[in-house]
Amino acid sequence: MNSTYIATLELAAGAVLLSAIMTLWRRNVRSIVAMLSVQGMALAAVAIVLALHEHEHALLITGCLVFLVKGLVVPHLLRRVSLLDPRSRESRPLVNVPASLVFAAALIVLSYVVGTRITSLSPSSATHLAPLGLATVLVGYFMLVTRRRAVSKIVGLILVDNGIALVTFLLTSGVPLIVELGSSLDVLLVVVVLQFLMVSMRRHSDTDRLTEMKALHD
């Protein structure tokens, strides 16, 4: 029982980070969104496995909510946004893909170096995985900085959010339901706002590459 639990938890948490790295690797916006969906489901899996192991009903509800919002609804909305533009490729990121992957590796090393100090505070099979969450946050932030398209940036933001959620799940068995609910709804709202923004941006300048927005500064 215990070894199955640990193996599933490791698998799910690892999937979260792996999907984050996959988003860096892929250029097609639609496959990036698909990766995000996978990540949301993996995150939900982490929450549900933890909840079943520790018999916490609130966490179980959170896990189901995460599955719904981050695994299904948000990716669905993003897919609709990306359909607005048939040529939806992250054509020239500020840092190219191989370099991004090398950088991501460095970020993972960094988060293990920093994260072990946190996990040593209360070592358990769950907390050992916390650096994975930290790495997801950093990879997400990296994506936010280096990708040009608005959709990719939003994906980066959601990666950061998912990474934070993973860390909270692993370290403290999740934050109170209301907080998790709040942050998930935030992400949802950001995506909805983005949808409107994209439509008006395209009408205005025929692109959603944020580099073009430079002329707007004061």
């Binding site: 900085v145 944020l210 004061d218």
Partner: protein, 666 residues
């Protein structure tokens, strides 16, 4: 104390009423509540000054953690007396004045908050209460300057200057007060006062200098005055009146309360510095007042002048107390305090009158006014009496207070220490010189503005303002006359306030009577007798004139120099009246004049038009403040290079910062 709380409550209720009542009734309701509150506060202050009691109040509510502590001792009551008296007048005035932006919900409620804060500042007895009321006063007045910014675009830059100066000042005061708590004495004034002797002399001096900088900038002492001639004129007139009469007095109050009350007088050089600030302010303010052509700007500069005289009095009192001359010190402090109240009344009246003139003629440029005595007789009388008071005409309030100040300074020469005597001497010189300059300024203000012929259609078509406004102005003339004619009535109150200010119980320098008698120093004046003498002389001259002069009167234009006809263009203007003085003091004032001549096409010897322009900029602003602002702007421009509009760059800042923190911590 309950009654004082009721007064504060009424002012707060007036603020709420101003914010909630419908358009038709809110001005009247909030003004009535506000003036009632001020009247009650006035009566409380008067009772405290009559009995010499001290009342205190503390509640743990309102401000989190520290609560509110209020104490009214005779010194605080003296300042409450001044601000509540002006408060009544401005509330009344507002009934007639408030219109457009000034009648809006925000303006009315902010106005009442401003009045309320002016009552709380002198009664606050803990650091938190004082700073809270202080900030309330600064912020409400700052927003009130901006009330009518749509019609007065200059108000924006004035508000910016004021905002920066007042916030720097407040920070300085707060820092100074915090330095005083460094011995762990807590934040109540009573504890601070009891334990301030355990502070080292350096710490005490450091605290006093910080506090002095903050309070002096609020009082408008040169060189921290630059905001004042911008902010006071741009505010709506009732607000200008409160700012120029009561708010500057709060700066004086702060200096006395901290320097004498909490730090027990400190060392002589503190007070020499205060007096020197006063000398410079008096001279600089008076000089600029003579050359200003904007009526409200002239009044604002004359505020700097009078505040300078008050600072001379406060500085002399402090220096004399530290040199072992308690009686003369108390005399000088009495003079300063009397001048504060006299100034509050006459400057309040003058600003309200300036507002009436602006309302009636749509301008406050003296070069466009004239002849208002015919169309606005009541306002003209108010200005005449108040200007007489500010010029220290005998039998008006300015004379009584400046006479007292002169007595204090002259008797101060008996002190042995040379620096103190030099400061006293400078004070006497400043008093004499500014007396003359102030006379020029206000002869100009009244003569050009109210006498002669009108110089513009606005001035020609002016009409007297509403009853409420004239009533309010009349209310503020009362002290000028009463203090002037019967100063003896105020001596017991004044004496109590002065002794509470200095915290000593020496023999009173006064003898009781209708006039001013300085018993121990053998000086006395009887203004009532002077008045009777003056009236008698006038009657005799009039009677002689009636008896001896030829019967047939010949009527010609006033200031017509005997000419049969004259046009308004032939009269003196405010600019030309002050021109000789401007030449004399050209090194200080640095006036700039432009003459632009356009010739007719045919000949260079005939001119088509001639434009003369004369500007007097504030030299301290141009030489002292502009370079600092230029440096700040350059730093700001440099910082802007970081901000180039690239969202990637902004995000990268955050990412790099996060990585750096992780590496450093991890």
């Amino acid at each position: 104390m309950t009654l004082f709380l009721v007064a504060l409550g009424l002012c707060a209720a007036a603020a709420v009423a101003g914010a909630t009542f419908p358009r038709g009734s809110r001005v009247v309701v909030s003004s009535v509540l506000g003036s009632l509150g001020c009247l009650i506060a006035f009566s409380v202050a008067l009772r405290i000054l009559l009995t010499g009691d001290t009342v205190t109040f503390h509640t743990a509510q309102v401000l989190p953690m520290t609560g509110v502590s209020l104490t009214l001792d005779p010194l605080g009551a003296w300042f409450v007396l001044a601000s509540s008296f002006v408060g009544v007048a401005t509330c009344l005035y507002n009934v007639g004045y408030a219109r457009g932006a000034m009648a809006s919900r925000s303006a009315l409620s902010l106005f009442m908050v401003f009045v309320l804060s002016l009552l709380v500042v002198p009664s606050a007895s803990s650091i938190m209460t004082l700073m809270f009321a202080w900030e309330l006063m600064a912020l409400s007045s700052l927003l009130l300057i901006l009330t009518d910014q749509a019609r007065h675009p200059d108000a924006r830059s004035a508000a910016l200057w004021y905002g920066v100066m007042t916030q720097l000042g407040a920070a300085s005061i707060l820092l100074g007060l915090l330095v005083m708590t460094s011995n762990g004495s807590g934040q109540n004034f009573a504890d601070l006062s009891a334990h301030s002797s355990t502070l080292s002399p350096v710490t005490r001096s450091f605290a006093f200098v910080l506090v002095l900088l903050g309070f002096a900038s609020k009082a408008g002492a040169v060189p921290l005055h630059v905001w004042l001639p911008k902010a006071h004129p741009e505010a709506p007139s009732p607000v200008s009146a409160l700012m120029s009469s009561s708010m500057v007095a709060m700066g004086i109050y702060g200096i006395i309360r901290v320097g004498e009350g909490l730090l027990h007088g400190g060392t002589v050089w503190w007070w020499i510095a205060v007096a020197l600030l006063g000398v410079v302010s008096a001279f600089y303010g008076a000089l600029h007042a003579t050359t200003s052509t904007d009526l409200k700007r002239l009044l604002a500069y004359s505020t700097i002048d009078i505040i300078g005289l008050v600072l001379i009095g406060v500085g002399a009192a402090g220096a004399l107390a530290d040199s072992g001359q308690p009686v003369i010190s108390r005399l000088a402090m009495s003079a300063a305090l009397l001048l504060v109240v006299a100034h509050a009344a006459f400057k309040g009246a003058l600003f309200l009158a300036a507002g009436a003139v602006e309302r009636a003629t749509a301008t406050r440029n003296l070069d466009l006014l004239g002849g208002l005595i015919h169309t606005m007789p009541v306002t003209a009388l108010v200005v005449a009496l108040s200007a007489g008071a500010i010029m220290a005409v005998p039998t008006l309030s300015g004379f009584s207070s400046e006479w007292l100040l002169l007595q204090g300074l002259l008797h101060g020469f008996s002190v042995v220490s040379t620096p103190t005597v030099i400061v006293m001497l400078l004070g006497v010189i400043a008093l004499a010189l500014t007396g003359g300059l102030t006379a020029v300024a206000f002869v100009k203000a009244f003569g050009i503005g109210f006498l002669g012929q009108s110089r513009s259609s606005g001035a020609a078509q002016a009409h007297e303002v509403s009853k409420f406004m004239t009533l309010a102005m009349g209310w503020l003339v009362i002290p000028s006359v009463v203090i002037g004619v019967m100063p003896g009535l105020f001596v017991p109150l004044l004496d109590r306030a002065a002794s509470s200010a200095l915290g000593t119980s020496t023999v009173s320098p006064f003898t009781r009577g209708a006039g001013l008698e300085v018993a121990q120093l053998s000086g006395a004046i009887q203004p009532a007798a002077i008045l009777i003498g003056l009236v008698a002389v006038m009657v005799i001259v009039w009677a002689l004139n009636q008896a001896l002069a030829q019967r047939r009167a010949r009527r010609v234009d006033a200031w017509g120099c005997g000419r049969d006809w004259q046009t308004p263009r032939m009269q003196y203007t405010a600019t030309s009246f002050a021109e000789p003085l401007q030449r004399v003091f050209a090194d200080v004032l640095r006036p700039q004049s432009d003459v632009e001549v356009t010739h007719v096409a045919e000949s260079r010897y005939y001119e088509q038009s001639l434009v003369y322009e004369n500007r007097v900029a504030d030299i301290l602003e141009a030489r002292g403040y502009r370079p600092i602002i230029a440096v700040a702007l350059r730093v700001g421009q440099f910082a802007r290079r970081l901000q180039n509009g690239s969202i990637h760059r902004y995000l990268a800042f955050g990412f790099v910062a996060l990585l750096v923190i992780l590496v450093v911590v991890g």
